[in-house]
Symmetry: C2
Subunit: 146 residues, 2 copies
Protein backbone atom coordinates (compact mmCIF):
# COMPACT_ATOMS: atom_id res chain seq x y z
CA UNK A 1 0.00 0.00 0.00
CA UNK A 2 1.60 3.25 -1.11
CA UNK A 3 0.55 6.40 0.63
CA UNK A 4 0.38 9.88 -0.82
CA UNK A 5 3.64 11.84 -0.64
CA UNK A 6 4.00 13.64 2.70
CA UNK A 7 4.70 16.93 0.94
CA UNK A 8 1.78 19.34 0.97
CA UNK A 9 -1.45 17.56 1.72
CA UNK A 10 -4.05 19.25 -0.42
CA UNK A 11 -7.22 19.77 1.56
CA UNK A 12 -10.24 17.79 0.44
CA UNK A 13 -13.19 19.78 1.63
CA UNK A 14 -15.98 18.00 -0.20
CA UNK A 15 -16.91 15.48 -2.85
CA UNK A 16 -16.06 17.94 -5.64
CA UNK A 17 -12.46 18.18 -4.47
CA UNK A 18 -12.14 14.41 -4.42
CA UNK A 19 -13.91 13.99 -7.76
CA UNK A 20 -11.39 16.38 -9.32
CA UNK A 21 -8.45 14.50 -7.80
CA UNK A 22 -9.88 11.19 -9.04
CA UNK A 23 -10.33 12.56 -12.53
CA UNK A 24 -6.75 13.85 -12.46
CA UNK A 25 -5.56 10.34 -11.53
CA UNK A 26 -7.43 8.73 -14.42
CA UNK A 27 -9.99 7.25 -12.05
CA UNK A 28 -13.77 7.41 -12.18
CA UNK A 29 -16.39 8.55 -9.76
CA UNK A 30 -18.64 5.52 -9.76
CA UNK A 31 -21.80 5.07 -7.71
CA UNK A 32 -20.22 2.78 -5.07
CA UNK A 33 -17.24 5.10 -4.86
CA UNK A 34 -19.52 8.07 -4.31
CA UNK A 35 -21.39 6.19 -1.60
CA UNK A 36 -18.17 5.43 0.26
CA UNK A 37 -17.20 9.09 0.11
CA UNK A 38 -20.65 10.26 1.19
CA UNK A 39 -20.53 7.97 4.20
CA UNK A 40 -17.15 9.36 5.17
CA UNK A 41 -18.14 12.99 4.65
CA UNK A 42 -21.35 12.48 6.64
CA UNK A 43 -19.65 10.70 9.56
CA UNK A 44 -18.22 12.64 12.46
CA UNK A 45 -16.09 9.73 13.56
CA UNK A 46 -14.03 6.92 12.14
CA UNK A 47 -15.94 4.13 10.39
CA UNK A 48 -15.30 0.45 9.75
CA UNK A 49 -15.55 -0.92 6.21
CA UNK A 50 -18.72 -2.64 7.28
CA UNK A 51 -20.29 0.58 8.54
CA UNK A 52 -19.39 2.21 5.25
CA UNK A 53 -20.90 -0.66 3.25
CA UNK A 54 -24.01 -0.39 5.43
CA UNK A 55 -25.53 -3.48 3.83
CA UNK A 56 -25.81 -1.62 0.51
CA UNK A 57 -22.33 -2.09 -0.95
CA UNK A 58 -20.17 -5.12 -1.53
CA UNK A 59 -17.41 -5.18 1.06
CA UNK A 60 -14.84 -6.03 -1.62
CA UNK A 61 -15.69 -2.82 -3.37
CA UNK A 62 -15.55 -0.80 -0.19
CA UNK A 63 -12.08 -2.11 0.62
CA UNK A 64 -10.85 -1.42 -2.90
CA UNK A 65 -12.22 2.09 -2.85
CA UNK A 66 -10.76 2.86 0.53
CA UNK A 67 -7.39 1.63 -0.72
CA UNK A 68 -7.55 3.88 -3.76
CA UNK A 69 -8.68 6.86 -1.72
CA UNK A 70 -5.86 6.24 0.68
CA UNK A 71 -3.35 6.28 -2.18
CA UNK A 72 -4.86 9.57 -3.28
CA UNK A 73 -4.38 11.04 0.18
CA UNK A 74 -8.10 11.44 0.81
CA UNK A 75 -8.54 8.71 3.41
CA UNK A 76 -6.44 7.20 6.16
CA UNK A 77 -7.05 4.06 8.23
CA UNK A 78 -6.20 3.34 11.85
CA UNK A 79 -5.79 0.08 13.76
CA UNK A 80 -7.65 0.94 16.93
CA UNK A 81 -7.27 -2.39 18.70
CA UNK A 82 -8.52 -5.93 18.37
CA UNK A 83 -11.38 -5.17 15.99
CA UNK A 84 -11.41 -4.15 12.34
CA UNK A 85 -9.59 -1.06 11.05
CA UNK A 86 -11.43 2.23 10.99
CA UNK A 87 -11.31 4.75 8.17
CA UNK A 88 -11.62 8.49 8.07
CA UNK A 89 -11.01 11.51 5.87
CA UNK A 90 -7.60 13.07 6.05
CA UNK A 91 -9.10 16.51 5.45
CA UNK A 92 -6.18 18.94 5.42
CA UNK A 93 -3.47 17.10 7.32
CA UNK A 94 -2.39 13.96 9.17
CA UNK A 95 -4.06 13.16 12.44
CA UNK A 96 -2.86 11.13 15.39
CA UNK A 97 -5.02 9.05 17.68
CA UNK A 98 -5.29 8.12 21.35
CA UNK A 99 -7.61 5.24 22.15
CA UNK A 100 -8.90 4.10 25.51
CA UNK A 101 -8.36 0.39 26.04
CA UNK A 102 -11.31 0.24 28.39
CA UNK A 103 -14.16 2.23 26.81
CA UNK A 104 -12.85 2.43 23.27
CA UNK A 105 -13.12 6.21 23.07
CA UNK A 106 -10.84 7.73 20.44
CA UNK A 107 -9.27 11.18 20.74
CA UNK A 108 -8.13 12.77 17.49
CA UNK A 109 -5.19 15.17 17.52
CA UNK A 110 -3.24 17.16 14.95
CA UNK A 111 0.33 15.92 14.64
CA UNK A 112 1.69 19.08 16.26
CA UNK A 113 -0.26 18.36 19.43
CA UNK A 114 1.91 15.34 20.01
CA UNK A 115 5.23 17.01 19.32
CA UNK A 116 6.11 17.39 23.00
CA UNK A 117 5.47 13.70 23.58
CA UNK A 118 7.46 12.87 20.45
CA UNK A 119 10.36 15.01 21.67
CA UNK A 120 10.59 13.16 24.99
CA UNK A 121 10.47 9.79 23.27
CA UNK A 122 13.09 10.80 20.76
CA UNK A 123 15.37 12.15 23.44
CA UNK A 124 15.11 9.03 25.55
CA UNK A 125 14.94 6.24 22.95
CA UNK A 126 15.94 7.80 19.66
CA UNK A 127 12.62 6.67 18.24
CA UNK A 128 10.50 9.04 16.16
CA UNK A 129 7.02 8.10 17.35
CA UNK A 130 3.95 8.20 15.14
CA UNK A 131 0.39 7.64 16.35
CA UNK A 132 -1.23 7.99 12.94
CA UNK A 133 -1.58 4.39 11.86
CA UNK A 134 -1.19 2.59 15.19
CA UNK A 135 -2.61 4.84 17.86
CA UNK A 136 -1.46 5.49 21.37
CA UNK A 137 -3.21 3.11 23.77
CA UNK A 138 -4.12 3.75 27.36
CA UNK A 139 -6.86 4.77 29.73
CA UNK A 140 -8.89 7.89 29.13
CA UNK A 141 -9.55 10.28 32.04
CA UNK A 142 -12.93 8.66 32.74
CA UNK A 143 -11.49 5.15 32.89
CA UNK A 144 -8.26 5.73 34.81
CA UNK A 145 -9.69 4.73 38.20
CA UNK A 146 -11.26 1.48 36.96
Amino acid sequence: MTLAPPSEPLPFRDLEDVAAALRRAGSRLTTPRRMVLEALFAADELLTAEQIADGKLDLTSVYRNLEKLEELGVVRHVHIGHGPSVYGLLGDGEREFLVCERCGKVVVAGTDQLDRVRAVIREQFGYEARFTHFPLHGRCPDCIRR
Copy 2:
Protein backbone atom coordinates in the same frame (compact mmCIF):
# COMPACT_ATOMS: atom_id res chain seq x y z
CA MET B 1 -9.04 -13.09 28.61
CA THR B 2 -8.37 -12.34 32.27
CA LEU B 3 -4.89 -11.26 33.19
CA ALA B 4 -3.09 -11.94 36.43
CA PRO B 5 -3.73 -9.40 39.18
CA PRO B 6 -1.37 -6.42 38.89
CA SER B 7 -0.40 -6.78 42.56
CA GLU B 8 3.01 -8.34 43.07
CA PRO B 9 4.23 -10.11 39.96
CA LEU B 10 6.03 -13.17 41.27
CA PRO B 11 9.18 -13.75 39.30
CA PHE B 12 9.26 -16.87 37.16
CA ARG B 13 12.90 -17.65 36.76
CA ASP B 14 12.67 -21.13 35.28
CA LEU B 15 10.45 -24.08 34.45
CA GLU B 16 10.37 -25.18 38.11
CA ASP B 17 8.78 -21.88 39.15
CA VAL B 18 6.14 -22.21 36.48
CA ALA B 19 5.51 -25.87 37.21
CA ALA B 20 4.87 -24.99 40.84
CA ALA B 21 2.46 -22.22 39.89
CA LEU B 22 0.63 -24.56 37.53
CA ARG B 23 0.35 -27.23 40.23
CA ARG B 24 -1.00 -24.59 42.64
CA ALA B 25 -3.63 -23.63 40.04
CA GLY B 26 -4.76 -27.24 39.60
CA SER B 27 -3.16 -27.44 36.19
CA ARG B 28 -0.79 -30.01 34.79
CA LEU B 29 2.64 -29.82 33.25
CA THR B 30 2.04 -31.79 30.08
CA THR B 31 4.55 -32.44 27.33
CA PRO B 32 3.19 -29.81 24.90
CA ARG B 33 2.97 -27.31 27.74
CA ARG B 34 6.58 -27.97 28.68
CA MET B 35 7.64 -27.54 25.08
CA VAL B 36 5.93 -24.15 24.89
CA LEU B 37 7.69 -23.04 28.05
CA GLU B 38 11.05 -24.38 26.91
CA ALA B 39 10.74 -22.45 23.66
CA LEU B 40 9.99 -19.27 25.58
CA PHE B 41 12.78 -19.76 28.12
CA ALA B 42 15.25 -20.52 25.35
CA ALA B 43 14.29 -17.53 23.18
CA ASP B 44 15.92 -14.18 23.66
CA GLU B 45 13.16 -12.39 21.83
CA LEU B 46 9.41 -12.48 21.37
CA LEU B 47 8.02 -15.46 19.46
CA THR B 48 4.92 -16.07 17.36
CA ALA B 49 2.66 -19.01 18.14
CA GLU B 50 3.95 -20.61 14.99
CA GLN B 51 7.58 -20.24 16.01
CA ILE B 52 6.70 -21.80 19.35
CA ALA B 53 4.88 -24.69 17.67
CA ASP B 54 7.93 -25.13 15.41
CA GLY B 55 6.16 -27.79 13.36
CA LYS B 56 6.13 -30.11 16.38
CA LEU B 57 3.05 -28.94 18.25
CA ASP B 58 -0.54 -28.39 17.25
CA LEU B 59 -1.18 -24.67 16.97
CA THR B 60 -4.46 -25.02 18.85
CA SER B 61 -2.58 -26.43 21.77
CA VAL B 62 0.01 -23.69 21.64
CA TYR B 63 -2.66 -20.98 21.70
CA ARG B 64 -4.50 -22.62 24.57
CA ASN B 65 -1.31 -22.97 26.56
CA LEU B 66 -0.24 -19.41 25.95
CA GLU B 67 -3.66 -18.27 27.13
CA LYS B 68 -3.39 -20.27 30.33
CA LEU B 69 0.15 -19.09 30.97
CA GLU B 70 -0.98 -15.53 30.41
CA GLU B 71 -3.73 -15.94 33.02
CA LEU B 72 -1.09 -17.26 35.39
CA GLY B 73 1.05 -14.19 34.81
CA VAL B 74 3.89 -16.15 33.24
CA VAL B 75 3.47 -14.95 29.66
CA ARG B 76 2.36 -11.77 27.95
CA HIS B 77 1.55 -11.14 24.28
CA VAL B 78 2.08 -8.03 22.18
CA HIS B 79 0.49 -6.85 18.93
CA ILE B 80 3.55 -5.65 17.11
CA GLY B 81 1.87 -4.60 13.86
CA HIS B 82 0.16 -6.19 10.91
CA GLY B 83 1.42 -9.70 11.53
CA PRO B 84 0.60 -12.24 14.22
CA SER B 85 0.94 -11.51 17.93
CA VAL B 86 4.21 -12.30 19.63
CA TYR B 87 4.63 -13.90 23.03
CA GLY B 88 7.22 -13.62 25.72
CA LEU B 89 7.90 -14.36 29.37
CA LEU B 90 6.91 -11.71 31.85
CA GLY B 91 9.85 -12.62 34.06
CA ASP B 92 9.63 -10.34 37.08
CA GLY B 93 7.57 -7.41 35.83
CA GLU B 94 5.60 -5.85 33.00
CA ARG B 95 7.49 -4.68 29.96
CA GLU B 96 6.68 -2.03 27.40
CA PHE B 97 7.61 -2.11 23.74
CA LEU B 98 8.71 0.26 20.99
CA VAL B 99 8.57 -1.12 17.48
CA CYS B 100 10.04 0.32 14.31
CA GLU B 101 7.47 0.52 11.53
CA ARG B 102 10.20 0.26 8.95
CA CYS B 103 12.60 -2.49 10.03
CA GLY B 104 10.43 -4.20 12.62
CA LYS B 105 13.01 -3.95 15.38
CA VAL B 106 11.49 -4.14 18.86
CA VAL B 107 12.92 -2.37 21.89
CA VAL B 108 11.90 -3.76 25.27
CA ALA B 109 11.70 -1.42 28.26
CA GLY B 110 10.73 -1.71 31.90
CA THR B 111 7.57 0.26 32.65
CA ASP B 112 9.51 2.82 34.70
CA GLN B 113 11.59 3.73 31.67
CA LEU B 114 8.48 5.16 30.04
CA ASP B 115 7.25 7.11 33.04
CA ARG B 116 8.51 10.44 31.73
CA VAL B 117 6.68 9.89 28.44
CA ARG B 118 3.61 8.79 30.34
CA ALA B 119 3.73 11.92 32.48
CA VAL B 120 3.77 14.24 29.46
CA ILE B 121 0.87 12.39 27.85
CA ARG B 122 -1.13 12.41 31.07
CA GLU B 123 -0.50 16.10 31.57
CA GLN B 124 -1.52 17.00 28.05
CA PHE B 125 -4.36 14.58 27.32
CA GLY B 126 -5.36 13.06 30.65
CA TYR B 127 -4.63 9.65 29.17
CA GLU B 128 -2.64 7.07 31.10
CA ALA B 129 -0.60 5.51 28.31
CA ARG B 130 0.43 1.85 28.27
CA PHE B 131 2.77 0.30 25.73
CA THR B 132 2.56 -3.22 27.10
CA HIS B 133 -0.08 -4.79 24.89
CA PHE B 134 -0.08 -2.37 21.95
CA PRO B 135 3.43 -1.01 21.58
CA LEU B 136 4.61 2.43 20.68
CA HIS B 137 5.12 2.68 16.91
CA GLY B 138 7.65 4.79 15.09
CA ARG B 139 11.01 4.87 13.44
CA CYS B 140 14.07 3.55 15.18
CA PRO B 141 17.29 5.61 15.11
CA ASP B 142 18.59 3.64 12.11
CA CYS B 143 15.44 4.19 10.08
CA ILE B 144 14.65 7.83 10.83
CA ARG B 145 16.30 9.17 7.68
CA ARG B 146 14.63 6.74 5.26
